[in-house]
Homo-oligomer: 211 residues x 2
């Protein structure tokens, strides 16, 4: 049985209930740790579930952030330095990754408070997460304000990608489940995607077939 919620039903929900509910409605979400460093050398690490593929040529990623949350330090570092990293979260790192969403002081590095090891690669300004099997060095391209709710859509280009060799298929596909990368449901549920099934490019005159 399905339950129907109108727009007004959603508006009338208790704020916390609504946050859990609406955050579940988009489907499964990516789990990324955003690594940044301020000009004065203070590191920041924050989990986000809003990273989105925007295009492959050029390689662009989008990400939604609110200016008024605990991720403010991250946002300021991106705006001031232009550089950030995106690091996929693996199963074993979930408790530490989730803990980065706590409200730490600006002087505290979430690398240190959570115990996730940082890593600097190829002279890139922002720190990576050492244990992540897919790490991206990103450069800010544009911040688009979303006027309807005050969020920001942050567009960045992929300057560097570090990918576990054992995840890489012959055709360029990167198997995230082979590396135990997790996904997110709602605000606080982490899951392990299993049993990848790849399908052949769909054609009108052909039945659907596995690759």
């Amino acid at each position: 049985m399905n339950k129907h919620f109108s727009k007004r039903d959603i508006e009338n929900m208790d704020e916390r209930y609504r946050a859990h509910f609406v955050n579940s409605l988009s489907g499964f979400k990516s789990a990324n740790l955003v690594g940044t460093k301020s000009h004065d050398g203070l590191e920041n690490l924050a989990i986000v579930s809003s990273v989105l593929h925007l295009g492959s040529s050029p390689a662009l990623m989008g990400m939604v952030m609110r200016p008024d949350t605990v991720r403010r330090d991250t946002l300021e570092n991106i705006q001031n330095t232009l550089f950030y990293t995106l690091n996929h979260v693996v199963n074993d790192d979930v408790p530490k990754a989730h803990q980065t969403s706590a409200r730490y002081d600006r002087e505290e590095s979430e690398f240190e408070t959570t115990g996730l090891a940082n890593e600097y690669l190829d002279n890139f300004h922002a720190p990576f997460v050492q244990s992540s099997p897919v790490k991206l060095g990103m450069k800010l391209v544009e911040i688009m304000p979303i006027k309807h709710n005050g969020t920001l859509f942050i567009i960045g280009s992929v300057e560097h990608a570090y990918v576990a060799e054992s995840a890489l298929a012959d055709d360029g596909f990167v198997s995230l489940s082979s590396q135990n990368v997790v996904c997110i449901n709602g605000l606080d549920a982490y899951l392990s995607p299993q049993a990848p099934r790849r399908y052949a490019y769909a054609k009108k005159e052909k039945p659907t077939s596995l690759l």
Copy 2:
């Protein structure tokens, strides 16, 4: 071992290889079927992996589309009628859902060609996917052009949500894995997220704990 790809390495990849590669880099993606209907009554159904939670109050979802692809009919229907549906894809529907990405003629309804049953609810203009355990009736709010690659960021408000009762937790969380909803890796891999672990709201002075 990690393999390093610079921005130039990615630019120099074969186009198809790059599409598989970069589409894998954002992390796991949501799997949604977008249902639309033209003013002259022609239905369209297209799978997308770019639906994103934008905000809970008001409840807004974002979605990236390219104007120049097989999803053009879907885009035109959204622009012309303002209404569309988002329907989460379940395990059993994956072959049919994937097949909607084939290049059908405008006159052909992907509901009919793939065998996914449509459903009209509460006089909403656009058709829903009957078998989907989470269905959203969406109204277009804004289309933001992304100038860097010609894609469009489509923002819509949630007018109706239909959620399987057995998925709904007491605090508003909707368990997608309880309904066998899938996620996507790259362009063509479908996975079943398993074993949801919910974590308590993170606080600085408290160790991470399961909910």
